[in-house]
């Protein structure tokens, strides 16, 4: 039995008066891939963003309940949000490279964390790019602009950039939705490798992707957690009718 890395308790989130998440309690185990599925607007991305306090940036958001990462409530006043986001990294739907070289993109995080020694940065960049399975493709052009990479390469470089600050948890919001099948397969293989060392939480609209890459799946609908369990169970014999209807495409 894996240790629980993230625990939410009665987590509700409001955009102004509108409730977007309704009392979500969920245990996410470490070094496994947990997928969030559900129709658009069901709250899965909102829930993902509560796990590293990305919703703090939206003024009308109000949150009740708890999110515990390694048993610490990340919404406690003493929590340093910068450190939290170092520990809980994030990869977005659209790759967002900085208009800098590949090297500088990956070295950016370590640099702002005070690492300036060239050889140390070189080691971190190489290690991170290797972990993101893109080293072989970019090792000879590290100082070229990251904007020249393909979409799939940019996304893997962004994952390398996330890995460079040594997070323990990686949140992925539709990381392959804008990529072609080959690049998608590479991202999925990467997720499979990364889970040996990281806890991964992924939001996806692609049912087959959730089935392929995740160990656990949570189905959200209208801000509620309808069903959460092992992916192999959810995709073969789900307990809830709603889940069955959604994953078989008979929804609504």
């Amino acid at each position: 039995m894996k240790e629980i890395k993230i625990k939410t308790r009665d987590l509700s989130l409001y955009y102004g008066a509108k409730m977007a998440l309704n009392s979500i309690s969920l245990d996410i185990p470490e070094k496994e891939v947990t997928a969030f599925i559900g129709p658009s607007g069901c709250g899965k991305s909102t829930f993902l963003r509560t796990l590293n306090r990305m919703n703090d940036l939206i003024p009308s958001v109000r949150i009740t309940g708890e999110v515990l990462v390694d048993s610490l409530n990340i919404y406690d006043k003493q929590i340093d949000v910068v450190n939290l986001r170092k520990k809980v990294g994030m990869v977005f739907q659209k790759s967002n490279p900085f208009a800098k070289s590949i090297f500088e993109n990956v070295a950016y995080g370590p640099r702002i964390n005070g690492i300036n020694k060239k050889t140390t940065l070189e080691e971190i960049v190489e290690k991170s790019l290797k972990k993101a399975f893109i080293w072989e493709e970019v090792k000879d052009r590290l100082h070229d602009s990251a904007m020249g990479l393909s979409g799939g390469q940019q996304q893997r470089m962004c994952i390398a950039r996330t890995l460079a600050v040594e997070p323990e948890i990686i949140l992925m919001d539709e990381p392959a939705s804008a990529l072609d099948p080959i690049s998608t397969a590479k991202i999925e293989e990467l997720i499979f490798e990364l889970k040996k060392n990281y806890t991964i939480v992924i939001v996806t609209h692609n049912m087959q992707q959730a089935a392929r890459v995740s160990d656990l799946t949570a189905f959200f609908y209208l801000g509620e957690l309808i069903e959460f369990g092992k992916t192999k169970k959810i995709f073969t014999t789900p307990d809830k009718k709603h889940t069955e209807e959604y994953i078989t495409g008979r929804f609504g």
């Binding site: 049912m207 087959q208 089935a211 092992k230 192999k232 169970k233 995709f235 073969t236 014999t237 789900p238 889940t243 069955e244 994953i247 078989t248 495409g249």
Partner: protein, 243 residues
């Protein structure tokens, strides 16, 4: 709006049911041919087997197409997996009907032996178990799956009892060895009819309830209490360990 995928599943359901009815007719006719020594009917069964084979291939191809094009999950996945297995079991049942039919001529002059051994009772039991399992396939009412297992047990016991009697006869009367061997082959086919019928019943439970009950009879007595497929069951697999 009905989705194209739904139409494919309906087509699959219809074809499996058509296969079930076709195979039941084959089994029924082969057993009737046996009991009435109707060689012509037996030959018709043999001749019709190619229809079963053709439908078998058609169903396999449809399942292959649905798997390749739709990536089914949950109840759809269970249906298509089970359709493949049931199709195989039904096709084998068709083969058993042919095997019985090819032995009709060899026993047709020994009607009194068939009567003496109560082969008609066994034949009726075999006919009924296939008829019942096809009904369950049509209605998907798993309440009656228990009856299939009970009937299969009864057939197995009766086949063993009759086989023992035949072996006894063979030891004492060398002149009956040929007909007795044919009868033993027929009994084996009847025993297999029961076996394939329980396989199909297991597949229907998997489709409807998502429980894998194969390889162990879930309806056997445990500490005096019978177990229902819908209740807590020590031998079932809820489908989460195999994929």
């Amino acid at each position: 709006m009905e989705r194209h995928f739904e139409q494919e599943l309906q087509k699959l359901n219809k074809r499996i049911l058509k296969m079930g009815n076709l195979v039941y007719d084959q089994i029924h006719n082969s057993l009737e041919a046996l009991l009435t020594c109707n060689i012509e009917l037996a030959q018709q069964v043999v001749g019709k087997d190619n229809k079963v084979d053709k439908l078998d291939v058609k169903i396999d191809k449809l399942c292959q197409r649905i798997f390749a094009l739709t990536q089914p999950v949950a109840t759809d996945l269970r249906l298509i997996m089970s359709a493949l297995k049931m199709n195989n079991d039904l096709e084998r049942l068709g083969d058993l009907a042919v095997n019985i039919s090819t032995k009709v001529e060899g026993v047709s002059d020994y009607q009194e032996i068939l009567t003496d051994l109560h082969v008609d009772e066994l034949a009726n039991m075999a006919d009924l178990i296939v008829k019942d399992v096809i009904t369950i396939l049509n209605t998907r009412n798993t309440t009656f799956v228990r009856d299939i297992f009970s009937s299969a047990n009864a057939i197995e016991e009766k086949v063993q009892a009759v086989s023992s009697r035949i072996l006894d006869e063979m030891m004492h009367k060398t002149e009956v060895i040929v007909v007795a061997t044919n009868l033993m082959i027929i009994l084996t086919q009847i025993d297999r009819i029961a076996g394939y019928s329980t396989n199909i019943a297991e597949s229907i439970v998997f489709i409807v309830e998502g429980k894998m009950i194969k390889h162990k009879n879930p309806f056997k007595h445990i500490d005096g209490a019978e177990i229902n497929p819908g209740h807590e069951n020590p031998v079932e697999d809820s489908g989460n360990s195999g994929i």
